[in-house]
């Protein structure tokens, strides 16, 4: 009996001592990279994440399992941080919130610790790292090893090219906003290293070479699935780069800009929507004008960033949320007087969508919502006036964000033509925009001056994340040639330093990566 006890104890000790293999635990509901890429059906799911890196903020939707840390998840949406960095330091918008960093953007007084600057920077590099991984995992030698059919391989190669486009787009924003940034490609594997810094002009060349390498291998716009990047999306990106090339490289590339605009225009796949506001509605995926959208859905793609933010942040006071197909009024963004006054013919310009009942034009307090006009241009209602898909709560919207649309291409084309001496083509394309806006030719230009392009872009592309870039191209963003409320911190506006033409690299990364040189002035 005693011996039995002894043996039992010894035996059970030995038995359980053999549990060492239990130390190898892995997630029950997660897959390692090898498992993911061995199944051809998984590639499109990873590709979906590369795209949703621009729309969603995490794996949960609308909040939870965030992609980016160190910033409120709702704030971290690609389009939301981009919008804040492109609009708040301009005349187009002032935000009334006490959230960290917002007043600094309104006042053009940010520094390298600004949470929005950080949010944009890390969101961009999050995109780049995801794309790098996908491009690496889908390199030819790997695809050949996996024994897929040639049709499968071709489909995956197209996806890889889209990933290269998405990476180029992210690098474009990095170049536009930050200038000289860390540079990583698919050759850099995840792990502990410090990336080298690339100069703005060199990054320009890299993006150009990337797009040139893939532009013909992407799907033509006419046959692309809505939401995925087509050849025209790549061409529109190139046009945008060339339009601002002087800012990025010191060399004008207006001819190349015009060439790439023509590539988009000549597909004849896109046309201006009949009604201006239809481009910004819940069913804008049917708009013939959108070249490259960021896709949202009130039920299946929920976020507190994106277009939900764009709609709710400008609703407040006496506005009725339900009129805009949402249930939240966040009372944040209004436009300023100098911008509002760019609309001369408010009764007939279909782009005048401001709400002014009970609002005053001048802003003396950033946080007083009734100062300045809200701009509810995006609306979670369909053309027929129906609510978006999330009719139950109306918390999230269906509106897609038009990252590139034909009107922008027309205006880029007009400006590039004007700057290369073709006044007639410039007027022609400017008037296409005017005719849609006013419904007839009564407000057409007979001739144009350079400032008209900036102002027309302001009216046409307001709150579409392009204002800062445009003001910089016209040298009106910093300095005192153009003032608006709270520019430089004063309610009447004052001159700002030229260093603000670039955002700083976040302190957090400067500290970690000794290869990085901070942008001058910060």
């Amino acid at each position: 009996m005693k011996r039995l006890v002894t043996y039992t104890i010894l035996a059970s000790t030995l038995l359980l001592g053999a549990c060492g293999k239990n130390l190898n635990q892995s997630p029950k509901y997660g897959l390692n990279a090898e498992a993911v890429y061995s199944d051809p059906d998984n590639y499109i799911k990873v590709l979906a994440k590369l795209y949703s890196g621009m729309s969603m903020t995490g794996n949960q939707g609308p909040a939870g399992q965030a992609d980016i840390a160190g910033i409120d998840e709702g704030f971290s949406a690609y389009v939301r941080v981009l919008w804040n960095l492109q609009e708040l330091p301009t005349d187009e918008a002032i935000c009334g919130w006490n959230d960290p960093g917002i007043p600094d953007l309104n006042k053009t007084e940010w520094n390298a610790d600004n949470v929005w600057v950080k949010g944009m920077y890390y969101r961009i590099f999050y995109q780049i790292t995801l794309c790098n991984e996908f491009i690496w995992q889908t390199r030819d030698e790997k695809l050949n090893e996996r024994g897929f059919s040639s049709a499968q391989v071709n489909a995956i190669v197209t996806m890889r090219n889209e990933a290269r486009f998405l990476r180029a787009l992210a690098y474009y924003h990095a170049m536009d906003l930050f200038g000289n940034v860390p540079f990583v490609t698919e050759e850099d594997r995840v792990g502990a290293f410090t990336p080298e810094q690339i100069q703005r002009a060199d990054l320009f060349e890299y993006i150009e070479s990337e797009i040139k390498a893939i532009e013909n291998d992407l799907t033509p716009a006419a046959s692309v699935a809505y939401g995925r990047a087509s050849q025209s999306a790549a061409h529109a990106l190139m046009a945008k780069m060339y339009l601002n090339a002087k800012v990025y490289t010191g060399t004008e590339r207006y001819t190349d800009c015009a060439t790439y605009c023509e590539k988009v225009i000549n597909t004849n796949t896109f046309q201006l929507d009949d009604v201006y506001q239809d481009v910004f509605l819940a069913d804008n995926h049917t708009s013939p004008e959108i070249i490259f959208p960021v896709v949202y859905d009130g039920l299946y793609a929920q976020t507190w960033g994106g277009t939900t933010f764009m709609i709710c942040s400008t609703l407040g006071g006496t506005m009725v949320a339900a009129d805009y197909g949402v249930n939240g009024k966040w009372a944040g963004n209004r436009a300023t007087r100098p911008f509002i006054e760019k609309f001369a013919d408010t009764s007939v310009d279909s782009r005048w969508l401001f709400y002014n009942t009970g609002h005053q034009l001048d802003i003396t307090s950033m946080s007083t919502f009734i100062q300045g006009y809200p701009n509810p241009k995006y609306k979670n209602k369909t053309k027929d006036g129906l609510n978006g898909s999330n009719n139950a709560t109306s918390a999230h919207v269906d509106v897609d964000f038009p990252m590139f649309r034909l009107a922008d291409v027309f205006l880029m084309y007009a400006e590039a033509k004007y700057r290369t001496g073709d006044q007639a083509t410039a007027v022609l394309y400017m008037n296409k925009i005017r005719e849609r806006a006013f419904g007839d030719q009564s407000h057409n230009y007979s001739s144009v001056v350079l400032q008209d392009f900036l102002d027309e872009r302001a009216r046409e592309l307001n709150w579409e994340c392009t204002r800062r870039t445009d003001l910089i191209r016209f040298d009106q963003f910093t300095g005192d040639s153009y003032l608006w409320p709270f520019k430089g911190g004063l309610d009447v506006g004052q001159a700002t330093a030229d260093k603000y033409n670039l955002y700083p690299l976040p302190t957090a990364d400067i500290v970690l990566n000794p290869n990085l040189q901070q942008n001058s002035g910060y």
């Binding site: 104890i9 994440k49 610790d113 990336p195 009725v320 949320a321 990364d509």
Partner: protein
């Protein structure tokens, strides 16, 4: 069986021979046993003054011969017991039988403490450990066990998280050693290390243990004591022993009944309805004035109540034929002071500790089963104080359940607060949690090797929480979704297997003892929660679909450990231990770690020059060093690169078809535990037969490979911040505890204890690159805006240091606000007009003088944790009367009054969004008009959090045995006031807020209890 008979027969023959031979001998023989009757091996017996003695064999048998007839004093000694004497008279030519039983079982002897995998005499401890027994526990009606030792242990800070029923506490021993890993001590109940993670539906995992079942706490503080627990021990180890059965066959029944009333200790000081009306009518806009109502509602009195708490416990202790047991049943119904809040717990505890096989096999089995049922009142109602007091509770209409609500365009206003009483009455949030903790420990004295004992301990801790919330469609909160129904479930299991072999030399060698233990341990935790969609109230439409995959996580810890304690002459004690841990949370390359420790004690009072001192009865010097780790509080798979599928609400559409995404997660392949090296020097002393006793400890803890979530270089991982081993931290401190019997007469006793702790925490390193221009890791979210933070971890400062702007004041000492009118000519136009407005640089000190106020101008001011804390208790007894109190004080902590900064400005009254708020009366202190981001960061809102809290005052009378029943019944009556008062200069409701940010806190109630204890 055949063999056994033969052996017995042989033994009988031998015995017979001895007996006949013994007729010629003169001496003593007998068996030495412990209180449970278990024979003690290697116990020594000495015949005083004769130089003769013996050591017992494995049957506990001893024999001393060669004595002359006469009376002798025998001294019995055994490890873990104080030497005991007994008289014997020896008769010539006879072997006198003298059996000896040590008075009580080892564990119950107050000067023996449970240490990891064994016990040790308090006197011989080489590490820093504090034992708190039942008689020193905090009195009153307590929901959770850790509150029993609040303020009782130097170095251990127990802070109740809030005043909600069943709410847990935060335990910090010698400061925290970690930033992002857990700072909680490891808690081991009856040998089972608990999973201290939360469980859905329970306010706190420890609330699932009935405090009434607890016999003692042993707090192991320094690494020399804790290193035997290896990779989880960096924040100390708390060993909880529950009450157990006794060897006695008498059945003892104890009935303990507590009835309490909780009341809110302090209401928020907000404006009354009339004050708000006056203020708005005097300074408000037309819009605000139009929103004012004509009622006078005290919203706090609408949502708070006086609540009754009952706590009844019955325990039965006894033994059935050497089968000791203790059975306890407890029931606690804790009603919160927030209306509808309730925590009900039913617990059953069974302990059995029988022995078998001639008492060589001992079983100790514990089963604890607890079920809690909670009703969580809507915490949104905690903001009741700030609801507009000029509005009525009920609107008079039927909409929204009859409650007054703020309306915007005929719908509930989405930005305003909801009617606080409506929030409470119109939400059902219920949960049930079941937890069973069971273990069986078998200890076997190896028959062939009597100095050895083999122990196998098998345990499990299983819990499951389920719950649901319902918001009715008729309520304002449920208006937009036709109500809301959601449910949740979590189940956890924690399995333990341990086996160890111990060697005890007993008193075999004169003056030397050696105890060795070596063992193996395997622990396995998993947690699973399925996902459920959120429905509308009628459950016929889904509001939010469930996430893609259920939550499941598992981790395993395997360990080997060993310890040797060598004691020379009762004067010098050496203790070395080592543990090797392997954790599934780390890669095969980094998962194994070694945690060594060594310590020594010198019992100076045992030296000849002090041995006979009448003043100093105990003086001991201790010194120890050890290395411990921390790995709790981090993800289970953080070292593996994996792809996770996104939820159905985070899809992306291509051509109208939605795809669930696959996202790679950031990972650090080289992740490992953080490591803390600790040094401890201590002095224990006892004067005048322990009438004054105490100890002093000095310690230093250096943590390296700190687990912290820090940024990674952009472009190098699938995230921008990752949990990794980076940085270093140091804690240094002094602990003093003193115990004193101020009065000790036959009828009267007065005992006083005090303990004091000083701890200095400093972050030494945070990133790979040292850089003091970066503001550090910003943390400490506050109310007001989204994402504003008020604290930072920064090199050279304690963790959670406040990081603020320096406020400037005008000539009259008033707060300067950005944008408010200045009394001097700011714009230089020669006149002072409304156009002269203060700028940022007037309001705050521009520390870096760049003309802009931003994060670069913030400075580090004050820490959230106290620098010093104290606990003291008085216990007075006069005949059958007794009384006492226990108090705590904390000094050197700073608190950020978020109520003042965010809810005491005129702007907070609002009115622009079709509703009004009430504001704190602190508004009158500085009359700040606007809440701005920079105003929130002002150091104006930092206050000292120094306080002294009277945790309880009690008065009782012990009737002793009352003769009104056939069996006499003992009765003890005790009146207790918990949280009697707080002395503080803090302007808010309560200065004791974990984390140091005061914002919408569930107030700690004041509790009046009557406790009746019957003994049958």
């Amino acid at each position: 069986m055949q063999k056994k008979t033969t052996t017995s027969f042989f033994a009988f023959l031998v015995l017979l021979c001895f007996s006949s031979f013994a007729l010629a001998q003169t001496g003593i023989r007998g068996t030495i046993t412990d209180a449970a009757g278990i024979p003690l091996f290697n116990a020594s017996v000495l015949v005083e003054g004769q130089g003769k003695g013996a050591v017992s064999n494995d049957k506990g048998y001893y024999e001393i011969t060669g004595l002359k007839a006469g009376s002798y004093n025998l001294i019995f000694k055994y490890m873990g017991f104080s030497p005991q004497n007994d008289q014997v008279t020896v008769v010539a030519n006879q072997m006198i039988t003298k059996d000896f039983q040590f008075a009580s079982k080892t564990q119950d002897v107050s000067d023996v403490v449970v240490i990891g995998y064994g016990t040790q005499r308090t006197k011989d401890l080489t590490g820093s450990a504090t034992v708190i027994n039942e008689k020193n526990f905090v009195q009153g009606s307590l929901a959770t066990p850790e509150q029993l030792v609040m303020g009782k242990v130097a170095g251990l800070k127990v802070t109740s998280n809030d005043g909600a029923p069943g709410s847990g506490s935060t335990l910090r021993l010698r400061g925290g050693t970690s930033i992002n890993a857990s700072n909680d001590p490891l808690i081991v109940v009856d040998g089972v290390p608990l999973d201290n993670g939360g469980i859905a539906g329970a306010a706190n995992p420890l609330s699932l243990i009935n405090p009434n079942d607890i016999a003692s706490f042993v707090v192991l503080k320094d690494a020399s004591a804790t290193a035997i627990y290896g990779s989880r021990a960096a924040n100390g180890v708390i060993l909880i022993t529950t009450k157990r059965g006794s060897a006695s066959n008498d059945v003892k029944v104890v009935l303990d009944s507590k009835t309490s009333v909780s009341t809110i200790a302090k209401f928020f000081d907000v404006l009354s309805a009339d004050s708000l009306r006056n203020l708005v009518n005097a300074n408000g806009t037309a819009q605000q004035k139009a929103l004012l109502g004509d009622s006078s509602t005290d919203w706090q009195r609408q949502v708070f109540r006086n609540a009754v708490v009952t706590d009844n416990n019955v325990s039965i202790t006894g033994g059935i034929k050497n089968f000791p047991y203790r059975l306890s049943v407890g029931n606690r119904i804790d009603n919160g002071i927030l209306k509808r809040d309730q925590f009900a717990r039913t617990s059953v505890g069974l302990n059995m500790n029988p022995s078998f096989l001639d008492k060589t096999l001992q079983l100790e089995a514990n089963v604890k089963y607890v079920q809690t049922a909670s009703f969580f009142a809507n915490r949104g109602a905690l903001g009741a104080a700030f609801f507009d007091p000029t509005q009525p509770v009920y609107s008079g209409s039927e909409a929204y359940g009859g409650y007054f609500e703020w309306i915007d365009n005929n719908k509930p206003n989405t930005l305003s607060q909801r009617n606080p009483l409506g929030l409470i009455e119109q939400m059902t949030d219920q949960s049930k949690v079941n937890r069973a903790i069971a273990n069986a420990k078998l200890t076997y004295n190896l028959p062939s090797l009597p100095s050895f004992k083999a122990t196998v301990n098998v345990g499990g801790d299983y819990s499951e929480g389920t719950g649901y919330t319902i918001t009715p469609a008729t309520s304002a909160s449920g208006y937009f979704t036709d109500g809301r129904y959601s449910k949740y479930r979590t189940s956890k299991s924690n399995k333990l297997f341990e086996s160890y072999l111990s060697y005890n030399s007993g008193s075999k060698w004169e003056d030397q003892t050696l105890e060795v233990v070596a063992g193996y341990s395997y622990q396995d935790w998993d947690t699973e929660s399925p996902n459920f969609p959120t429905w509308n109230e009628a459950q016929d439409s889904v509001i939010a679909p469930e996430a893609a995959f259920p939550f499941y996580t598992r981790n395993v810890l395997m360990s080997y450990y060993g310890r040797a304690i060598y004691n020379y002459a009762g004067k010098y004690v050496f203790n070395v231990s080592v543990r090797r841990d392997g954790s599934s949370r780390f890669s095969p390359d980094t998962r194994w770690g070694i945690f060594p420790a060594a310590s020594a004690a010198w019992l100076i009072s045992e030296e000849d020059f002090l041995k006979d001192s009448k003043t100093i009865n105990m003086l001991k010097l201790r010194a120890g060093w050890g290395v411990t780790g921390q790995q709790d509080g981090i993800g289970d798979y953080a070292y593996i690169g994996n792809y996770f599928q996104g939820a159905t609400t985070a899809q992306y559409a291509f051509g109208g078809q939605y795809y669930q995404v696959l996202r790679p997660a950031g990972f650090d392949a080289n992740l490992k535990w953080e490591t803390t090296s600790s040094y401890n020097i201590g002095l224990d002393f006892g004067f005048k037969n322990d009438r004054f006793s105490g100890s002093v400890d000095l310690y230093q803890k250096d943590t390296r490979d700190l687990l912290a979530t820090v940024p990674v270089p952009a472009g190098t991982n699938f995230t921008n911040e990752i949990l990794t081993n980076v940085g270093a931290m140091q804690n240094r401190g002094v602990e003093i505890s003193l115990n004193s019997g101020l009065i000790a007469t036959k009828d009267m006793r007065l005992d006083w204890t005090i303990n004091a702790t000083y701890n200095k925490n400093e972050v030494l390193k945070l990133a790979q690159v040292l850089d003091t221009t970066s503001p550090g890791v910003l943390i400490g979210g506050i109310g007001g805006g989204i994402g504003n933070t008020i604290q930072a971890h920064q090199i050279g400062y304690p963790t959670y240091t406040f990081f603020v702007l320096e406020q400037q004041y005008d000539s009259q000492g008033r707060v300067i606000e950005v944008g408010s009118q200045a009394e001097i000519d700011m714009n230089g136009d020669g006149n002072i007009t409304a156009a002269d407005k203060w700028k940022d640089t007037n309001a705050f000190v521009d520390r870096n003088k760049d003309g802009i106020i931003n994060v670069k101008d913030r400075y580090y001011a004050g820490q959230a944790a106290p620098k010093m804390f104290f606990g003291t208790a008085f216990n007075f007894q006069y005949k059958k009367w007794y009384a006492g109190f226990s108090a705590r004080a904390e000094l050197g902590a700073t608190i950020y009054n978020n109520i003042h900064s965010n809810s005491a400005t005129f702007q907070t009254i609002d009115g622009t969004k079709k509703y009004l708020n009430n504001i704190s009366s602190l508004y009158y202190q500085d009359e700040v008009q606007r809440t701005t981001a920079s105003q929130l960061m002002s150091d104006h809102y930092l206050e000292s959090a120094n306080f002294l809290r009277m945790d309880f005052i009690n008065v009782g009378y012990n009737f002793g045995k009352l003769g009104f029943a056939k069996e006499k019944v003992g009765l003890n009556v005790n009146f207790v006031v918990q949280n009697a008062f707080v002395l503080t200069k803090y302007s808010g409701q309560d200065p004791e807020i974990g984390g140091g940010i005061d914002n919408n806190f569930y107030p700690r109630p004041r509790v009046y209890s009557v406790n009746l204890t019957f003994n049958f």
